[in-house]
């Protein structure tokens, strides 16, 4: 455990000045600063909307964008935490440290996971923070009339679970391939495949990890719209079968990756 904690801290120390780390912070920040400005400048039109509708208008477009951006962000994070070692040729010095190989491998994986969690947590935080800030600056925007905290957290939690399968696959690809194009290319094409499969409504789409974030966003928003007249209701069913597949893929690929690392010669 000590080796894991030391390695995890070292991962942060190494990446704290790289785009891999900052992309997880900047992506939600930039998106919400833009939305904040947009809402502020159109506050007159939006003043008539009730609290829940405002929150939906403030968060749903972001969720749509995120269903595609999240897999791409994960491709990039998986790449950047591994490429730092490929570029510096430091695998050999990492694996000749008196630290168990599993600690080094798992710390790196969990650091990539931490960056994804950080990014999604910031999305929740910025949605709530900027929404409430808007109602303070422009009291006509009635964000404060509705409390979306728990629902929003649940949606992003589901989005996190839905992306873990992709994370494990991309992490392993980036660990194995030194060059940028292979993991990035595979990740990009696989994500496009996920979009297509989700839109096809094929019965087995839930088995394909790269479609899970789309399925999550799609099912959540269908629930919202499915309610017909009156106020929309959002219910989040956290553990759907696609989420179970995502979690299973994540665990299996993570373990498989470790055995590949053990077998692999360190160049």
């Amino acid at each position: 455990m000590k080796g894991f904690i030391l390695s995890f801290r070292s991962e942060f120390y190494k990446t704290r000045k790289t785009m891999g780390f900052w992309s997880a912070v900047l992506l939600p920040l930039i998106i919400y600063i833009l939305l904040f400005i947009g809402f502020l400048s159109h506050s007159d039109k939006l003043a008539t909307h009730p609290g829940l509708i405002l929150w939906l208008e403030f968060s749903v477009p972001v969720l749509f964008v995120m269903s595609f951006l999240l897999p791409m962000l994960i491709v990039f994070i998986g790449y950047s935490v591994n490429s730092i070692e490929h570029k510096a040729d430091t695998w050999k010095s990492l694996f000749s440290l008196p630290i168990p190989k599993f600690s080094i491998y798992s710390a790196k994986y969990f650091y990539a996971l931490f960056l994804v969690v950080l990014c999604l947590a910031l999305f929740v935080l910025f949605t709530l923070g900027f929404g409430n800030l808007l109602s303070v600056i422009k009291p006509s925007l009635k964000f404060n009339q509705y409390h979306i905290e728990s629902t929003l957290t649940l949606i992003y939690l589901k989005l996190l679970f839905s992306s873990l399968g992709i994370l494990s696959i991309q992490f392993l690809l980036s660990l194995l391939f030194r060059d940028f194009l292979k993991p990035m290319g595979i990740g990009f094409i696989a994500t496009i495949g996920g979009v297509i499969l989700t839109n096809l409504d094929w019965g087995y789409t839930y088995l394909y990890p790269y479609s899970h974030p789309f399925l999550t966003v799609k099912s959540t928003l269908q629930n919202k719209m499915g309610n017909g007249a009156g106020m929309p209701q959002i219910t989040v069913d956290l553990f759907t079968k696609d989420i179970w597949v995502s979690l299973a893929v994540a665990v299996v690929v993570f373990i498989l990756g470790y055995f590949i690392v053990l077998k692999k010669s360190v160049k």
Partner: protein, 299 residues
């Protein structure tokens, strides 16, 4: 023995790159691991650090089996393999601090290492902007950071200027004589190893051709006295009459097996006193290639 291998072999695919290697590195030695490029030196070093899985044979470090005591052994080993592994986006000091974090070493030790390798002034400069020599010195500092009992260095003087080479050599000698460390250093330059090593192993095409103390090697290496003289043929005949064995004659040069410095002075005197103008006279070693030939022919 600090390092002891028995029948160590390794294949890359079908190609056997290390063949039944039996290394014996005594405690407190500077073991020069010599061989031309591609001889299997780096592969052997990676095997010693458990970076590659041993196909056949065994490795014992500090009298413990490597595979089953990996962490315990690695905690007493500092290493530098091929070009130094350095994060170019971090400064020199940050590179050391990162390693110090992993090894739980204090910041004062980091500063001490920076001073030791003369990088204190460049400590906050990005390692990407370092010269090759500075990177190499940082790599040595990283290897020395945990104050290891055994240092494994793969061509550590690559890219260093003559001053740097001398400094590294003196540092290694000091570590061994004053701090009781053991150094395993690979090189393709015989001359470099000869100046500091106490023991030598010579590897070619994955096979250990020679292993022993530096004195044993000197006996095989047979240094020669090379004399640049006006009339080589006459001078050679003269020396032969005086009982010297002339092994090689060219238009400008004569070669005689070296026995002692006194003998060199004697030859110089004799030639000058008898009217043969000596332009230069010095001791030379056979280069590694010739030495290999000698060793392989003997085998």
């Amino acid at each position: 023995m600090v390092i002891s291998t028995e029948g160590l072999s390794f294949n890359f695919g079908n190609q056997q790159v290390v063949k039944s290697l039996s290394l014996q590195v005594p405690e407190g030695s500077i073991y020069g691991f010599l061989g031309p490029n591609g001889a299997g030196k780096t592969t052997t070093i990676k095997l010693l650090l458990n970076l590659l899985k041993t196909d056949q044979g065994s490795i014992h470090v500090f009298d413990k089996e490597l595979q089953s005591h990996r962490i315990e052994i690695l905690s007493q080993v500092g290493s530098l393999i091929e070009q130094p592994a350095i994060y170019l986006h971090l400064s020199g000091k940050e590179n050391l601090m990162n390693r110090a974090l992993l090894l739980q070493v204090s910041e004062s030790r980091v500063d001490e290492m920076l001073k030791l390798v003369h990088l204190t002034d460049a400590a906050h400069k990005k390692a990407g902007k370092y010269s090759l020599g500075m990177k190499q010195r940082l790599g040595i500092a990283l290897a020395l950071l945990p104050d290891p009992k055994l240092l494994i260095l793969d061509e550590p003087t690559n890219g260093l200027d003559p001053n740097g080479i001398i400094e590294v050599r003196e540092l290694l000698i000091r570590l061994v004589t004053q701090h009781n460390k053991t150094v395993f250093i690979s090189s393709h330059l015989l001359a470099e190893v000869e100046r500091m090593a106490t023991h030598v192993g010579i590897i070619d095409q994955g096979e250990l051709l020679f292993q022993g103390s530096i004195k044993d090697l000197e006996a095989i290496s047979q240094p020669r006295v090379q004399i640049e003289v006006a009339n080589t043929v006459d001078a050679a005949n003269f020396l032969k009459k005086q009982g010297f064995m002339v092994t090689d004659i060219t238009d400008d040069l004569l070669s005689i097996p070296f026995t002692s410095k006194t003998q060199m002075g004697e030859i110089n005197n004799l030639l000058n006193q008898n009217g043969y103008v000596v332009y230069s006279i010095h001791k030379i070693h056979k280069d590694l290639e010739k030495l290999f030939l000698d060793i392989t022919q003997k085998a």
